[in-house]
């Protein structure tokens, strides 16, 4: 087991996905964004498919920030001290 797993990081959840988590902020452990999302999907079934499609592409109106920096690569390595923000990019009307 890695050090990252022992120290969960904070993940901020956008309002459209809070029906899954029931909270605006959750903790999750993993060495990459991909691992974090898989863990969240195990705890909140259906969560991942709403923001990542079946080709492992982040959906068009979803953005992920790590420590304030926008990240597009789900394999991006994470440190236990990182803060992950999932954001719904509002658009239209």
């Amino acid at each position: 087991m890695t050090a990252q797993v022992a120290h969960p990081m904070r993940v901020l959840i956008p309002t459209p996905l809070r029906s899954y988590t029931g909270a605006r902020e959750v903790e999750a452990s993993g060495g990459s964004l991909s691992e974090i999302l898989l863990e969240l999907d195990r705890r909140y079934p259906g969560f991942r498919f709403r923001m990542v499609d079946e080709q492992d592409r982040v959906r068009p109106h979803i953005r992920v920030f790590v420590n304030g920096e926008q990240v597009f690569d789900l394999q991006r390595a994470l440190q236990p001290s990182d803060a992950v923000h999932i954001v719904q990019a509002l658009s239209g009307g």
């Binding site: 079934p45 498919f49 080709q55 109106h61």
Partner: protein
């Protein structure tokens, strides 16, 4: 959801369900009378599917909604934008459901809609992929797989409609498919031998005679009587000023000579609204030889309605009740097979589908 007793005079609204989400289709399982599937999506999140067995008091999300197979490394795979169409399986196959998606794909569930598997025979077939076209070849919000139809005499005998891509038939539960395009017209200047240019809007099989099919197409209203494989354009008998373009097709539950359509303006700029702003349902009682205008109770002028292909349906009462919903959020009901109409809801969001169920 709106409910009434058999008289269908007073309707009670319940909801909203899925506020902020698009419900492309919601269908009750006629085999158990209690499982209701709803294909949902939002403008920002991915599509999903919800299921209830207590008429919407509680909803449970599907464990695996329709999704295409993951593409091999180095290839670009497709992703489902929304599930557009739901069809319960044959009476002999409880818990089997079919779904059509946008972009076009066909999916099957064997556990009441909880887990969905793609149909590789269509979704990954090079010829069918070519006929489906790409994003820019479909309807404004994406190409649609729809009208998934099961022969009530044989669960292996199926039809599908592809917008665009034509009508197709399978005799082996979807393992192999063949086009069914003879007699169908396409937009002037295009080659009807190429399925790419065919656009069926809605195909219905007659419950009282499964050898008879009706179709509202981008280019007319058609009927097919099996075992022939030729569509006959019965819309030629519609009034010329109205034309025979529209989205929905509704068949009578007990009489294969009676169908209803909701014509729209398919003229030069395709506004998709009622011709001349005068909405009307048209009915034939003789399998398309003659048509009758049914607009008693509907606005007489300046009503520019659009009714989508799942947004008009019938119940199985006698006389049959008819129902349609507009993209501007109205629901209209006839308790007498279309002779007169009344409004039961206004100011709803855009209506994508209207379905009935007797409980």
């Amino acid at each position: 959801m709106f409910s009434s007793d058999g008289a269908r005079r007073r309707w009670q609204a319940d909801g909203p369900h899925f506020l902020g989400q698009i419900v492309n289709h919601m269908v009750l399982d006629p085999r158990d009378g209690r499982t209701l599937l709803a294909a949902t999506s939002t403008g920002h999140l991915g599509p999903t599917m919800h299921r209830t067995t207590d008429f919407g008091r509680t909803w449970k999300e599907a464990a695996r909604p329709p999704a295409f197979a993951k593409a091999p490394d180095g290839q670009t795979g497709r992703s489902v934008k929304h599930t557009f169409w739901l069809t319960p399986g044959h009476a002999s196959e409880p818990n089997v459901w079919y779904a059509g998606t946008s972009p076009q794909g066909l999916f099957r569930s064997e556990d009441g809609g909880n887990h969905w598997e793609p149909f590789g025979a269509i979704n990954d077939d090079p010829q069918y992929r070519a006929w489906m076209g790409r994003e820019q070849d479909g309807t404004p919000d994406g190409p649609k797989m729809h009208s998934v139809t099961i022969d009530p005499r044989d669960p292996r005998h199926m039809y599908i409609g592809m917008s665009g891509g034509g009508v197709h038939e399978s005799h082996d539960a979807g393992r192999t498919w063949a086009p069914l395009a003879k007699g169908l017209e396409v937009v002037e200047g295009f080659n009807p031998a190429d399925m790419t240019f065919h656009d069926p809007h809605c195909i219905r099989i007659c419950p009282s005679n499964p050898d008879r099919l009706y179709q509202q197409n981008h280019c007319g209203i058609y009927r097919m009587d099996r075992p022939t494989d030729e569509w006959v354009r019965i819309g030629r008998n519609m009034p010329r000023r109205v034309g025979d373009i529209g989205f929905p097709m509704v068949v009578h539950p007990r009489d294969d000579k009676v169908v209803w359509v909701f014509p729209m303006d398919g003229g030069s700029v395709w506004p998709r609204t009622s011709p001349e702003g005068k909405p009307a349902v048209f009915q034939t009682q003789n399998a398309g030889k003659t048509w009758k205008r049914l607009n008693n109770g509907l606005p007489e002028d300046q009503a520019w309605w659009t009714v989508k292909r799942q947004a008009m349906t019938a119940d199985s009462h006698d006389p049959v009740g008819l129902y349609f919903g507009t993209t501007s959020g109205d629901i209209w009901v006839s308790r007498n097979e279309g002779e007169s109409w009344g409004n039961i809801a206004r100011h709803l969001p855009e209506i994508y589908a209207v379905e009935t169920a007797m409980i």
